[in-house]
């Protein structure tokens, strides 16, 4: 397996407060990797640093390229795409326009039509609402749109921040099914989740982040049966 993305000894500080300390992790080609942990552990901060929206120390390598001098837009152009926790949709623009903007970073836009059809096949709800303003969608539909918009960019690594946050259980299941299906497209995924059980069931490998540090890591199947983790995050089923 070839390495897709690696983070080595990365720290992120807000002023003097270090929110993320010496974190190292890696995502292999075609792998779904999850980072789980409680609220305020620094998960979102870590992802913001990975995409370049926050300054960080340490080293990040994406497909053999050191990201130190590459800005957010440059990372997106290279196929590193973030679906943020806040979705960051263009509320006053139509669903279709939101999706089309996903292709902005691509050099070759000849396949836009096909990508759009693929997204509409995946999320038929978006097709029904393609002319509607994104701001009028329900929470679940917004998440679908955010995911669809990121897929329009043909990402190599999709970074997902709490995709299930605030969604109804039925929709959460649909979103996770979509994430699992990305494997067949050859898209690697870095998934940050509070919903630890669903995340570990979908992922190949997992890291546990607590107060800014990785305290445990291992194959997802091992973590899901770890008694300590069950007690802390998985709600002893």
């Amino acid at each position: 397996m070839t390495q897709m993305f690696s983070i080595e000894n990365v720290s992120v500080a807000y002023g003097k407060v270090e929110a993320v300390r010496n974190v190292s992790l890696s995502v292999e080609q075609g792998q779904i990797v999850t980072v789980i942990g409680p609220n305020g552990a620094g998960k979102t901060t870590l992802l913001m640093a990975a995409i370049g929206l926050l300054k960080s120390t340490g080293r990040m390598v994406f497909q053999g390229t050191d990201l130190a001098r590459i800005d957010v837009e440059g990372r997106v152009e290279r196929g590193l795409c973030l679906v943020p926790e806040k979705r960051e949709l263009f509320a006053d623009m139509s669903v279709a326009d939101n999706l089309l903007l996903g292709t902005y970073s691509l050099r070759d836009r000849s396949t836009t039509r096909k990508s759009l059809d693929d997204v509409f096949d995946r999320f038929p709800r978006l097709k029904e609402r393609s002319k509607q303003a994104a701001g009028t969608l329900s929470g679940g539909e917004r998440q679908m749109l955010a995911l669809g918009r990121a897929l329009m960019a043909k990402p190599k690594l999709l970074v997902l921040d709490e995709p299930s946050l605030g969604l109804a259980p039925l929709i959460v299941r649909e979103i996770f099914r979509t994430i699992a299906s990305l494997r067949s497209l050859g898209v690697s995924v870095l998934l940050v989740e509070q919903n630890a059980r669903a995340a570990l069931e979908t992922a190949d490998f997992g890291y546990v982040l607590e107060t800014g540090e990785i305290i445990q890591s291992g194959p997802a199947e091992t973590l899901i049966h770890d008694p300590k983790l069950i007690a802390a995050y998985l709600g002893g089923h």
Binding site: I51, L53, R69, D71, V72, E73, V76, E77, C81, L82, P84, E88, L89, F90, A91, D92, M93, D97, L100, L101, G102, T103, Y104, S105, R109, R149, A153
Partner: protein, 347 residues
């Protein structure tokens, strides 16, 4: 006041309003994309008129010097900042964009001038020459403070206006100009005399705002500009660079301001400092639209034009006072009617 006079004043007001509307739309465009309230927009309009007048008189317009100086400054700044961050590979592209491209425009104007081009070509040349100014100013002045508060950006923008007025005096001299009329025909609508210039102003305003809307609706770059205006972070995550979106917004805005300058030049005498009132009145129109809505800004601008027209009939010395005092109720209404979200307050 008789109905005839009222009709004449209204038509006059609508024509003035159309000119303000072009500048107001440009102001809103730049504000929404870059958060800069670009006060020097009126100056850009005035400089376009002065440029066209110089071309008419077969002189090399002062704009040439201005563009060359600004291009050199912008290029030096860009190369220096690239060198500081170690991105030396991007230097040739920066030199091309900030120095070579503006110089090519200057070269085209300089070469074409020798052939005594006809009026339409001179107008295109004037517009071409004016368009690089705002993007270059953006690079020199606003890019280094792009993350500053709206208030700081506004303060800098006002300072920039005064600097530009000074540069205007330096490059264009103190004489006022009035360009030749674009058309001498006139029509009569329901017994009211309407000059060809008025018709032309209205047509140009409609055509250029129409083109802008087509651009926003049907091109990916247009959509990217709207996306940047709506959600900067979201746009960056799509790979849209706010700085590049800003440059495009400044280019388009300058085009709108330039067109308005060319439209008023045959009607009003334009001096190097005539732009301020034009820009300020367009700004009032834009405020009526909440600095966010294009139709709102256009309507506001037409309102300002019509009020100004009637006010100047009642008391020509007080017309500006009347127009600007009307801003007070509008501001009161806007601040009472609009809900401030926490996010807006943070900005």
């Amino acid at each position: 006041m008789t109905a005839d006079i009222a009709a004449i004043l209204a038509i006059d007001g609508i024509a003035t309003g159309a000119v303000y509307a072009l500048v107001a739309i440009g102001t809103v465009l730049i504000f929404t994309v870059t958060r800069v309230i670009f006060i020097p927009f009126g100056d850009i309009a005035a400089f376009t008129a002065l440029t066209l007048a110089a071309l008419d008189a077969k002189q090399l317009p002062g704009t040439v010097g201005l563009v060359v100086v600004l291009a050199c400054m912008a290029c030096v700044m860009e190369v220096a900042s690239l060198a500081r961050t170690g991105e030396l590979r991007a230097v040739p592209k920066a030199v091309l964009g900030y120095l070579v491209l503006p110089l090519i425009v200057v070269g085209i104007v300089w070469l074409t001038m020798r052939f005594n081009p006809p009026m339409p070509v001179r107008i295109v040349l004037a517009l071409l020459l004016i368009m690089p100014i705002s993007p270059l100013l953006d690079r020199i002045v606003f890019r280094p403070i792009a993350d500053a508060s709206v208030l700081l950006l506004l303060t800098v923008s006002v300072a920039l206006h005064f600097a530009l007025v000074g540069l205007g005096l330096l490059f264009f001299g103190p004489e006022g100009v009035r360009t030749e009329p674009l058309t001498s025909m006139a029509i009569e609508i329901a017994g009211v005399h309407v000059s060809g210039q008025t018709v032309l102003i209205l047509t140009a305003a409609l055509v250029f705002s129409g083109l802008l809307f087509l651009f926003f609706d049907f091109t990916l770059i247009g959509k990217a500009l709207r996306a940047t205006a709506l959600n900067r972070t979201g746009a960056r995550l799509m790979g849209i660079r706010p700085a590049r979106a800003g440059t495009i917004a400044y280019l388009l805005g300058s085009l709108m301001a330039g067109v308005s300058g060319i439209l008023i030049a045959p009607v009003n005498t334009i001096f190097y400092d005539s732009g301020f009132l034009l820009g300020l009145k367009a700004f009032v129109g834009a405020i009526v639209g909440g600095m966010a809505s294009y139709p709102g800004a256009a309507l506001g601008a037409f309102g300002v034009g019509i009020i100004e027209s009637f006010a100047s009939f009642q008391s020509s010395t007080l017309k500006d006072v009347i127009v600007f005092s009307l801003l007070i109720p509008v501001l009161l209404w806007r601040s009472l009617a609009s809900q401030h979200s926490e996010e807006e307050v943070e900005e």
